[in-house]
């Protein structure tokens, strides 16, 4: 009984694969099949906020795949494919936006932030290294003495309340 339940539960995992649309594209060459998947991953589905044309199950993504297939079979270059679809759906569908006055922040802000973070890290580490020796002047025995004092103080404070609790 339990075994059967486990098998049934495992079968649930098959649901997504069974429901995924099976689309057959008969490419005239292996090279076109590879390009279809490469370009499809770089094209954003116009209907969705963040899914590629390959990933999305929406009707408009399906249309885009059909069009992409047709364009590749007609011998369009990558550049021409992007131009063709951009003329219809706008730059929204390009996952790689062109480098322009209004897009430079997309391209250059992340590396700039990363670099400045790294610089700050290095500077901080250096200034710490300079300060560090000063605070470590105490010898080992001196530090142990200090620690002992702290521990003694601590146990004096807490012992009366502790004994009450345990009795």
């Amino acid at each position: 009984m339990a075994k059967r339940a486990v098998v049934l539960l495992l079968l649930l995992f098959l649901i997504p694969t069974a429901q995924a649309a099976i689309e057959l594209y008969d490419f005239s060459s292996e090279e076109k099949r590879v390009r279809f998947h490469e370009l499809g991953a770089e094209l954003r589905c116009p209907k969705c906020q963040n899914q590629s044309v390959i990933d999305s199950g929406s009707a408009s993504a399906y249309d885009m795949r059909q069009e992409l297939y047709q364009l590749l079979e007609e011998g369009y270059t990558d550049e021409e494919v992007f131009e063709h679809l951009k003329a219809r759906f706008g730059e929204f569908i390009l996952y790689k936006p062109p480098v322009r006055g209004d897009t430079w922040i997309l391209w250059f802000l992340p590396p700039f932030l990363m670099l400045s973070g790294f610089v700050i890290l290095v500077l901080l580490a250096r200034s710490r290294q300079k300060q560090a020796p000063a605070s470590q002047n105490d010898s080992v025995s001196e530090r142990q003495l200090k620690l002992k004092k702290i521990l003694e103080l601590d146990s004096e404070k807490s012992s009366p309340s502790n004994s009450k609790d345990s009795s």
Binding site: K47, Q49, E67, K86, R88, G90
Partner: protein, 179 residues
Amino acid sequence: MKRALLFLPLIIFIGLGIFLYKGLSMDPSARDSALLNKPLPEFTLPRLDNEDLKVSREDLVGEVFLLNVWGSWCPTCYEEHDQLIRLAEEGVPVVGLNYKDERPKAFQYLAQQGNPYTLNLFEPDGVRALAFDLGVYGAPETFLIDKEGIVRYQLSGEVTPQLVDETILPEVRKWQNAQ
């Protein structure tokens, strides 16, 4: 100098806060059509009511008209339908583009909701023609085409009474009066 530097994280935080707060009120799906101020693409599509009658770009271009993309499967289309009827009553030609629909369902829709369209084009699922070339990815969508056949205004989403009064009718009149 060192003190001032301590405020740097706070300043960055405030700047980031303003930037992200502004993003909250922005509509990520709002974007201008790539077809704005471009010519209406060439097409040949059958009429919805008669599949043997083909309509092409030349048949439509000449006067200012609205092109409304709709489907009986689209809930917002029902919402905006009264506004299309109002526009038609104002004398604005509204051409329908029935999108990813089936004929019987579309006929039923028009019979129940009323028919404001001067004519309807039919672009079912599997066909990539005018709607695809216009960058349509959902319905409803509405385009304003001027006398020269140039797209002058585009709206993704519902035609509201306010949009009709404040934007669409003034735009139609403007392009009707243009030389």
